[in-house]
Subunit: 403 residues, 2 copies
């Protein structure tokens, strides 16, 4: 494992940020979804080269044409991901996330759907923080469960939730709480006290907690991530944890994630519905990339966070200065920010407004919360020059097209 | 798509077969499962470099660090695999395997487990040809279904099945027939007449047919593959077809396969149990590799089949000459052959005998059929020199250690 943690924001941007021509030449969804004149700022893909260790690990397998049934260190290869996950959780948080209680899985959407189906019945209530990552809503609604919203309310510099109100409004059939921490799209990193309150709530109402922690490597100074299961055995007994290197290390196409069960009993319950072999296998290049991300990419990650932190501050400074009618709170984590454009007096959706008048492709707010047509999610995982062009265009569009 | 179909066996072996030091340096399961002095001849992995078009496709993505949410030709990337599959089925067999009725899935084990769970109930009978690929047995037994054997009986130069006997012995709750065609491990390629008989049987007993056709690209001269669903609408109405480039093109670690439903109704039934998003996503490099395999690798495949055909004949010639007590029938497809060592008078299993006395790692016969301890499956997808060493060692072990 590398030990340098010294890369600056400027060095990261110089070494790893793609420029616009390079981005336009890429094949991924982010730069192909819209016309070439649109700046895409939607899907959680970053405009950066991957960590050198990831690229080296993939190249080593590709140079060897190593595409056979994979083994690593004498074991089935997916074990390497589970052990790397366990090692990382222990090192970062002191949490003993046992490899034996984990499974490799293609992605968190699959893991979420499978967990909802395995641990709840049709008709059961499933709590989801709103606004929310859209597949969480689909995992509840598409499987015939009852969507129970847990509002993240803007308050002060951030967003808060109200468990008393939730207790008063949730149906008695509620069985699961999907916790997204850090939360997408608000960027909240929940404090130990908040997580303890969620645990007490889950114990009181006998809820399982499905804790999506995919953004947990992207935490800004002043905030501390704590895996929900790391609260202790009482939490582990009711927690399924989801994580993956794909978001923080920019390898979503490689489809490699981990689902960890806090106890053997939870794993057994899951496997009664989804035997390991119906979950599918994870590909060898995704395994190699993930292990390299978690074990040998801390310098790149340090540089990434330095750059993203600077970009977060820059977006905040520019929006509050140049488009003060847009309400933004600084995210505590993630490269995503939730922009409230209600005060612009738009006649249509905020997404359409900026797509039409600024040629920017945000994520529409209504995808995260029905009725949130005046909000958008902005992805600032790009270079400063692209961010500046984006905000220039936004400001100009607002100036020209609103009263 | 390339049009040359001219590569000879010798040219293929010279260009694509790894030698033993190169194989020992690899990380895949085949060459790591046993001690280095053991010749592995078990898992369905080949000792050959992949087709140049596959390597080029992977390299193009890797050189571009193209690991984002993938799109190909303006669509979600997995659509490219489904369209390549449809195009290939149409071109090779005239079968309209619609992309809209297909899903990309990590592997055939997942697809088999999911299909058994989606289309049958616990306790239902599921017919499986025996000997069989071991995960088929697991997909039936591990999910609480009832395993209904359909024996492949040695007869003449090959193996035959008896549907009248099956009808007389199968339980009334039987709902599905898992057809493996070409059949692993016997190497049978079923004739149109045999498949028509299976269809009539399935219609009479109202069975769904889960048709695993993963070996269908590896057919030897004199045999013709026919997808079961290509028998026509009556077959399609009750057929789920599984295929993948991973076996024939030697990319199993890349975890990319296709499940095709013969009708919209079958797809809808499947999705009631397994919504698309609980099936998981397929990784972008596996997608690129599969499309390159199916669209641009016919010259390599032609050379592969020429070489494998020569090796099949060579193994047959040498075994019948040097170890005539081992009974072998020439496979009509696949690089696998099923060896009956019953006449050697072994005290233990054939696998153990050859592992101990010849240092060869076969697949144990009992993995394919309980009680078949005197049989092994041999994988001959390697170079002539390794095959000769394997058979030399087998012959010597038999001479020294049996009466």
């Amino acid at each position: 494992m590398d030990t340098q943690m010294t890369m600056t924001a400027a060095a990261f941007e110089a070494d790893f940020a793609y420029d616009r021509p390079a981005l336009l030449a890429r094949r991924n969804a982010k730069w192909r979804q819209y016309d070439p004149d649109v700046i895409p700022a939607f899907v959680a893909d970053m405009d950066f080269r991957v960590a050198p260790a990831i690229q080296a690990a993939i190249r080593a397998s590709v140079d060897a044409e190593d595409y056979g049934y994979p083994m690593r260190d004498g074991k089935k290869a997916d074990r390497a991901v589970l052990e790397a996950f366990a090692h990382r959780m222990k090192g970062l948080y002191g949490w003993e996330a046992q490899a034996d209680l984990s499974m490799a899985i293609a992605d968190l959407v699959q893991a979420t759907f499978a967990s909802v189906m395995a641990f709840t019945q049709p008709g059961d209530g499933v709590i989801v923080q709103v606004p929310n990552y859209p597949p969480f809503r689909a995992a509840v609604n598409d499987t015939g469960r009852s969507f129970v919203p847990m509002p993240m309310k803007p308050e002060g510099d951030g967003y808060v939730f109200d468990l008393d109100q939730l207790a008063a409004t949730m149906p008695p059939s509620t069985r699961m709480l999907i916790l997204c921490n850090p939360q997408n799209p608000t960027g909240r990193v929940f404090s130990r006290a908040e997580l303890q309150a969620v645990l007490a709530f889950a114990q009181k109402h006998d809820l399982l907690v499905l804790s999506d922690e995919i953004h947990s490597d992207l935490i800004y100074a002043g905030n501390t991530h704590l895996p929900f299961a790391a609260l202790g055995p009482a939490a582990e007994a009711r927690t399924i944890t989801l994580n993956s290197a794909t978001k923080s290390f920019n390898i979503p196409g490689l489809r490699t994630a981990v689902i960890n069960f806090g106890t053997e009993a939870l794993k057994a319950r899951f496997e009664r519905h989804f035997p390991a072999r119906v979950v599918g296998s994870v590909n060898s290049l995704g395994i190699d990339a993930t292990v390299a991300a978690w074990q040998d990419s801390s310098d790149w990650l340090c540089g990434l966070i330095a750059h993203l932190s600077a970009m977060r501050d820059h977006v905040y400074t520019r929006i509050t200065r140049d488009i003060p009618m847009i309400r933004m709170k600084k995210p505590e984590a993630t490269y995503l920010t939730w922009l409230d454009c209600s005060d612009l007096g738009l006649s249509g959706t905020a997404f359409d407004f900026f797509h039409t008048h600024a040629r920017i492709g945000f994520s529409p707010g209504e995808n995260f919360l029905p009725g949130a047509e005046r909000l958008v999610r902005l992805n600032f995982a790009t270079s400063r020059v692209i961010i500046d062009e984006m905000i220039d265009r936004m400001a100009e569009a607002v100036q020209r097209n609103t009263r």
